[in-house]
Symmetry: C2
Subunit: 204 residues, 2 copies
């Protein structure tokens, strides 16, 4: 399973790298997350320049595609030339977004009338785009999921991992990354947040 | 206040970027975190190449220095030429580390006989280096702090922020980044973990 973490100039490091770091805990199980960008290099909102691992068009080949947020997302959502390069297929892909990334899913027509999550700053723009906003950290409906708040990136990652390898393998991978001394509580919470919206139990 | 996030080849993205993303929520308050590396570019454990914002020697000028973990840390700890470039002064700097980064603080002679945090994989090597390991997410003693588990990076960041701008300004900055719908609980928990070890209350 290959996962594209769509990353534009001005990107929020928390969104792209929490998802990337957590999902790649499953690399030995054949799940790999990579940064996909419209240019060879992109620079984060705090000035860190990174080299893309994949071109933006990788979103068409990937089995899962995640959109983080960034300081230029409103401009990106209105950039038809750029948005036309993002061709997704929810019948065979998992598609997730968080914070201002949710605006891109709205622009791509992927949210329908389901409630979606975003951050407090983006909320009015997402509502303006005709989307109902849920004041929740994470919501999934079928192949589409959204999260709100930078640190909710961990829930998007958990969702992709759960869908890729199941709950118990996800639990094990998250356990490694969770804080020492509070691993069980941390992992149980992430699985509960995601499991609640999947309608599945977080425990065996 | 300037913060160096020391980042080597093979670095763990969660460690470097969670700290960077959270601490830079205080940029408007004059607190800035930057990636400091021994070469112009470094590549993460999952293959993401980033351009350093500062040379490694920035650790001498910075007011706070954080060491994340990575897959080559044991080799780095034994590389005298590299370690000699890291000159720190705990009488005027905050110094923190997590997971295998704790091994570097041990090698720099900064841990003394205080208990330190690290991850489960690094634990035997840290013990071998003569350090007592605490099975806790975070411990601070004076200007030195350690954390264990990738996601405990948020606690190291919280500690730097608290020491830089105080608890309430830290609460506000963390609130922005916390997951929607669980912001208060998330922030209270981070402040409690850090406050407990500072011997300070997490609430006004």
């Amino acid at each position: 399973m290959r996962v594209a973490i769509v990353t534009f100039d001005g990107f929020n490091e928390l969104d792209s790298f929490i998802a990337l770091g957590l999902i790649n805990r499953l690399r030995a199980a054949g799940v790999q997350a990579e940064i996909a960008s419209p240019s060879a290099q992109v620079t984060s909102m705090n000035g860190v320049t990174i080299t893309a691992q994949q071109p933006l068009e990788f979103v068409m080949d990937a089995d899962a595609v995640l959109f983080g947020s960034g300081i230029y997302t409103r401009a990106i959502a209105e950039n038809a030339a750029l948005m036309d390069r993002i061709v997704l297929d929810p019948t065979r892909q998992l598609i997730g977004a968080q914070c201002s990334g949710t605006l891109l899913l709205a622009r791509l027509g992927l949210l329908g009338d389901a409630p979606a999550c975003t951050d407090l700053t983006t909320k009015p723009w997402v509502i303006e785009a005709g989307v109902r906003v849920a004041d929740l950290p994470f919501v999934a409906r079928g192949p589409i999921a959204t999260a709100g708040g930078c640190m909710a990136s961990a829930y998007l990652a958990t969702w992709v991992m759960w869908r890729a390898v199941g709950r118990e393998a996800t639990r094990q991978a998250l356990h490694y990354a969770a804080p020492v001394g509070e691993k069980d509580a941390w992992v149980d919470h992430a699985l509960k947040v995601v499991g609640d919206t999947l309608g599945e139990s977080a425990t065996p």
